[in-house]
Amino acid sequence: MGLVAGVVALNAVFVAVGYAVLLAVLPRGAAASYAGVALLTGAATTGVGVFIAAILGLHVGVRSFVVVAVLLAGVGLVATRVLGRTQEPPPSARLETAGAVALSAVVCVLALALVGGFRSSPWLDDSWGIWLPKGLALSAHGLDARLFAPNGTYVSFGVPDYPLWWSTVGALGVRFAGDVDARVLDAELAILLVAFAGAVVRLQWGRVRPWVLLWTLALVVASPELLRQAQSGGADVPLGIFFACCALGAALWLGCGDRVALVVCAACGAGAIATKTEGAPEVALLFVVAFAAGAAVVPRRLPALAAAAVLAFASGVPWWLWRAAHDIPSRVPLRDALDPSYLAGRTGRLGDSAASLAGHLVDPTEWLLLVPLLLIACVAGWVLTRRALWLVPAAAVVVGLAFLAWAYWAAREDLDYLLGTSAYRTVTPLALLAGVLLAPIVELLLRLHEPVPVDDS
């Protein structure tokens, strides 16, 4: 098909599957505005599905892709038939002039990033040295232990503990494009970035005033580090997108009872877990924070959130079983990470790790001011109301940061090397988390001075 047509066709299928999965909860009359939500949902669920199919013995390719896409679409359509379609109208709002200016800025940046994605070959050697070769091996041999489990006979891949959603999607991109074209990865990243922006806007449209929503989104998409990493071909941007959308989905479900957001939470949680090895603990911590907050305010919505969490983690089980069956060790063994004597002997690493990670997060030349602004907004809300709930978004970022610092603390590799080669990108999920939660927090702050009903459930 060629690069452009192939990647577009692949994502068109993702969109179609996403719409089918969301159909039962999709508000009537505004389906087109949910395209970004549908793409992320479809990419997450279809990619995870094909990855699981590979674990079960299928090769990653057009055939397994079609089977999984049809199955997922079928599940969505059957669910719609059983449950019926929602009668809820989509939340709506009128775009103000300030919002229109921000929208122009967002569209401008994303258009350039999209063009650049299709024209750039990844600068991160992990992308063409690990992620894409793994995908091509999944395509040619399936999940073959000769290549995916270290052994002395065959040359196996590095970081064997990493899950393979990104490799799977990369291989599908290559199959659709018809050539081993390294630009497939950057093209897919660019499309995911555009879908992410569309999803963030759609999910919060009508709940957050447009100028707040679009200016905070402009801060996110104009972050130099996001744009740089979007051309890296690496898995950190998709992990960040899925992680942030999982968090946003949980927040909107708890705060507004938005059922589309709940499905997004489950799908993107599964996507994050299947993208990188740190995805599972990060998503787990996210759910812990969400449950703690939800228990204090809307306990009636926790069972559904628990179901979303169970679905997301259930999708990771086949990979964990395969890893256990083939003795694939974790890059940071849990035994080390939980061993006080081991950790006590290397406490110097903790401060250096935390300082480096926090430094990347607050560096305005990397992520503009996303994290500081979120922290300031949360603290301002807490000071003004004395309600600890305001601190939850900040807590989610801080807990994520603490987890990363702990992982670097426990890791066996040379710390300077490890931090220098990965800290700038392992913070991506936290920066995007801050980015997507900034708008609702600012909106709530503004509402403190304009008393209006907040709960639209």
Partner: protein
């Protein structure tokens, strides 16, 4: 035209202008663009690597030898092999290899064992 459509159109026009002018917009749009090969960390014969990949039979095994090469060159070639020589399987155990890919002084050769 609605305000949203006008804002989107304005953003696209602005993107077009920025892509045409030298500066960050042009860099973000990756003008001029890369080709379909990976951006290797070291100069490697990208076209020859693809050629070797097309010459290798599908159902076979190969051993990569990089005598005298730096670890970076060897690592890049290992990854390039996994990318372009698939579905041929790379082996560590020489006895299992039916083909040998040798990189020496910038040249890549393919030999049957």
């Amino acid at each position: 035209m609605s305000r949203s459509a006008a804002a989107v159109a304005a953003g696209l026009v602005l993107a077009g202008v920025l892509a045409a002018l030298p500066g960050p917009g042009r860099r973000l749009a990756e003008i001029p663009g890369d080709d379909h090969n990976p951006v290797y960390d070291v100069p490697l014969p990208a076209a020859r690597i693809r050629e070797v990949g097309s010459e290798l039979p599908d159902e076979t095994t190969y051993l990569l030898r990089t005598p005298g090469a730096t670890p970076l060159v060897a690592g890049n070639l290992k990854a390039a092999g996994q990318l372009f020589f698939a579905p041929a399987l790379p082996v560590q155990d020489e006895r299992k290899a039916r083909w040998e890919v040798v990189y020496r002084r910038g040249a890549l050769t393919l030999q049957r064992r």
